[in-house]
Symmetry: C2
Subunit: 205 residues, 2 copies
Amino acid sequence: MSHQKATNITWHHGHVDRAARESLLRQRGCTIWFTGLPSSGKSTLAFTLEHWLVERGHLSYVLDGDNIRHGLNKNLGFSPDDRVENIRRIGEVAKLFADAGVITCTSFISPYRADRDQARQVHEAAGLPFIEVFVKASVEVCETRDPKGLYRKAKAGEIKEFTGVSAPYEEPLRPELVIDTGELSVDAGVQVVIEELRRRSFIGA
Amino acid sequence: MSHQKATNITWHHGHVDRAARESLLRQRGCTIWFTGLPSSGKSTLAFTLEHWLVERGHLSYVLDGDNIRHGLNKNLGFSPDDRVENIRRIGEVAKLFADAGVITCTSFISPYRADRDQARQVHEAAGLPFIEVFVKASVEVCETRDPKGLYRKAKAGEIKEFTGVSAPYEEPLRPELVIDTGELSVDAGVQVVIEELRRRSFIGA
């Protein structure tokens, strides 16, 4: 065959194991699951963390509403069933990214414990680390950071079932990390996650 | 804050662009979409390619029935609608992986042109390369490689709607690559893809 030029290649068949990709990337694949009220600071933390990691040679990727709701989950609405399915799919995709060796950040309100616990479960069943980060901020603090005025509209009844106003947010009971964004700066909050990644040797010191 | 130890860090906010991840990985993120009859050799090619790439320092990941059907798509069956949705979700997930900089391989029969074209379209709309690889083999050749005897069962009517026997396979009209696995060895077939990745500078020479 004209395509078979090299004859001194050792060809390996079958699956590449996770350790080989992690060795290549010099990091451990994992999912960092940011959860909290609207405008609590989840995306700001996730993207600042991603920047910090990539600048230091670590592969990180953020799954958020922008890249999920307009793509994979564009056929889901906001019914109770669709909200469950939304988080289920995100958990499964995060698991695949973590399996690929990527330090995967997810930034979704994900207000229900059962949904977050399911995402945790699919990771743990696959032997993949799941770091739940509760991005803690009071409704009063979140309101001050709300550029689209969503809290105001929700309180005026113009938006129905708005988490924190007219729909519940179930705080994590045993999150790996809590970042109180009413107390900590963005950079200090990101540092909390970095320290956890180092402590568990998912990245080097 | 006790967590803010380093004070000489420059913190960057906002999204990391694709080029930064690709520079880190020294490769271009893309999707290599293997399509063909059952037992045509898709998974063998995909996993051999993944091995070749990872051994040379390139991050690659295979999406296939094993990691998709039991996870992300476990709530889908084999109705016409579910088959469309199956491939739609795979296309969207592959797009996210490619966006993360990963050389992403998908290994699914994906018998319908419209479904594959939709996967192509979501990639191209995002500026991401999509390499459709037609894994070509006659039913007669595939039958000889069928460890589970599925072709035999399909011909006996024990399996309904089996692609190539009792359900259609629409051959790609303009695939980027054709690998005739009745003619080429696995390794020679993988080499065809590697040459394409090099030719387009998705990996180094």
